[in-house]
């Protein structure tokens, strides 16, 4: 029978994960304010413009606003505040 070896695990220690609930859904988007958040990753701005155009054509009852994040990968407290205050829902993108 082949000899058995005992070796150490090479992995580091991961932080624990605590469950988070996602935000409640809307019953309808009609009449709501939807923020389209451009995260400033490659090509996102043009995508959000097209997304806004789609809503204008197909769901004009939805009030859309495109907002541009100040820098990719960094917090933007001003944009966050505006979204919190005025948005009923948001679409963010486009990222990895």
């Amino acid at each position: 029978m082949a000899t058995k070896l005992t070796v150490l695990d090479p992995r580091g220690y991961a932080p624990s994960v605590e469950g988070k609930a996602i935000a409640p859904s809307l019953e309808t988007l009609d009449g709501k304010t939807l923020y389209l958040v451009d995260g400033r990753f490659n090509g996102s701005a043009a995508f959000m413009d097209q997304l806004q155009a789609w809503f204008t054509e197909h769901m004009p009852s939805v009030n859309t606003r495109v907002i541009r994040w100040r820098e990719p990968f960094e917090d933007d407290p001003e944009a966050s505040r505006e979204i919190q205050e005025h948005a009923d829902a948001a679409i963010l993108g486009v990222g990895i």
């Binding site: 070796v7 859904s25 829902a89």
Partner: protein, 429 residues
């Protein structure tokens, strides 16, 4: 409020994994089939009006459904779990352990030295620090969670790389840097390593002929250890999940690890220029190493050639000039660059790009355009430049000079890369 994240479909696994480790069971998300850069309005509209390649349903149908779907208990509970890492793996045969290590992606797909308790204990003798001391934390990218690790965990990976105990202080310093050698960037980043000070001779590193190649045990295994500890201590480096480099980068096999040839250099060594005494030992990670070009000889047109070489560089990746000692001495004694600072100044002033091209880099658009929009100088002014106006490619502080090699050829090499920190090796003895 309800929010839907839109991702590229190639990152579906990453999005899933990221949501899980943030404790969210079913993140609201939708996917588009490809990259967005350089797409026409028609192509982008086709993404929106087409199908989500991950769910298979129409993209907009999915987006709207996510914002209005009733939530269930799983959505409200989220995911809670521990991820404990045992100290020891269940005993098994050597063959089975090798297969386990490879299947778990704990290796670089080359054979490793299995980290038995005896081997790890021997490695730990290379430092005075306690095995259970926390060395630091690493992550594949700043958007991911930080994983923590101890001296013993670093020792495990050092053993796997084939390193010797006398190399361990260098490896610990690299682990403590907080800079991973397995960065997850779509651009495929490599991290190089420059070692300075007496430790080079103590452990037999090569700073001369072939120093940047596979010709020295210390150079080879320290670099390999840096890679293995990075991927294993940070939570992994798995393509599509914790590694998204589109091409990958061959420099990451050994992480371009070498000792500076301080003795043959006409200038102060790297670590002395950054606050260390000559008799102190230090290590400097340099990243992002994307590209490397070389010419030979300080010939009459060397200035023109060097500027041609760096013209191919991304303006935001920094620049490391890697000089054979014979080239360095010619630059210092014949060409008048008495200090590395004077050489850096010359490059900073003379390496220029056309504004139209400078702004056309992916990195310029991603990292600098937002600063220009906020009025930060010099970017705000540069954003107004005519496309044919020329301005300097690099910021002065992003250029570094290192001397290495055995004087068989007066090589002048230019690699991308930036020095972010130089760390004490002596602290980890």
């Amino acid at each position: 409020m309800p929010s839907v994240g839109v991702h590229m479909s190639v990152f579906a696994r990453l999005a899933e994994s990221d949501a899980r480790v943030r404790g969210v069971s079913r993140m609201r998300r939708a996917f588009v089939p490809g990259t967005l850069a350089d797409r026409s309005a028609t192509e982008l509209r086709a993404f929106i009006e087409g199908d989500d390649p991950v769910s298979g349903r129409p993209f907009m149908e999915g987006v709207l459904a996510e914002l209005t779907r009733p939530l269930d208990e799983e959505d409200l509970r989220g995911l809670t779990f521990e991820r404990s890492t045992p100290r020891l793996l269940p005993p098994d045969t050597e063959e089975n352990l090798r297969r386990l290590f490879e299947e778990n992606r704990w290796t670089d797909f080359l054979p490793v030295v299995l980290p038995t308790e005896e081997r790890v204990e021997a490695m730990l003798a290379g430092t005075s620090h306690a095995p259970d001391e926390v060395v630091g934390r690493l992550r594949p990218t700043w958007m991911r969670e930080l994983w923590e690790f101890t001296v013993e965990k670093v020792a495990v990976n050092a053993v796997m790389a084939g390193a010797r105990p006398e190399y361990f202080p260098v490896i610990l310093a690299l682990a403590a840097s907080g800079i991973t050698a397995r960065q997850s960037s779509t651009s495929s980043i490599a991290t190089g390593v420059v070692v300075n000070g007496p430790i080079r001779q103590e452990i037999g590193m090569n700073c001369a002929t072939g120093a940047m190649g596979p010709y020295n045990h210390a150079n080879a295994t320290i670099g390999r250890a840096y890679g293995l500890l990075s991927q294993n201590l940070q939570g992994g480096s798995v393509p599509g999940e914790t590694f998204v480099g589109s091409l990958g980068n061959n420099f990451t096999y050994n992480n371009v690890t070498f000792a500076e040839n301080e003795e043959a250099s006409p200038w102060e060594p790297l670590h002395v220029r950054h606050g260390f005494a000559a008799d102190q030992s230090a290590v400097t990670p340099i990243w992002p190493i994307w590209n490397y070009v070389v010419t030979w000889g300080v010939r009459p047109t060397w200035r023109e050639k060097l500027l041609d070489m760096v013209a191919a560089h991304d303006p935001h990746g920094g620049l490391v000039l890697i000089l054979d000692p014979s080239a360095a001495r010619l630059l210092a004694e014949r060409e008048g660059f008495a200090t590395t600072e004077s050489l850096v100044d010359w490059i900073a002033e003379n390496a220029t790009k056309r504004a139209g091209q400078w702004w056309d880099h992916f990195t310029s658009e991603l990292f600098v355009r937002p600063l220009a929009d906020q009025g930060v100088e010099p970017w705000a002014t540069r954003a107004q430049a005519h496309p044919d106006e020329r301005f300097t490619t690099f910021q002065r502080e992003d250029i570094e000079v290192v001397v290495v090699g055995g004087e068989t050829n007066a090589a002048i090499a230019a690699a991308s890369g930036r020095r972010s920190v130089t760390l004490s090796v002596d602290d980890w003895r």
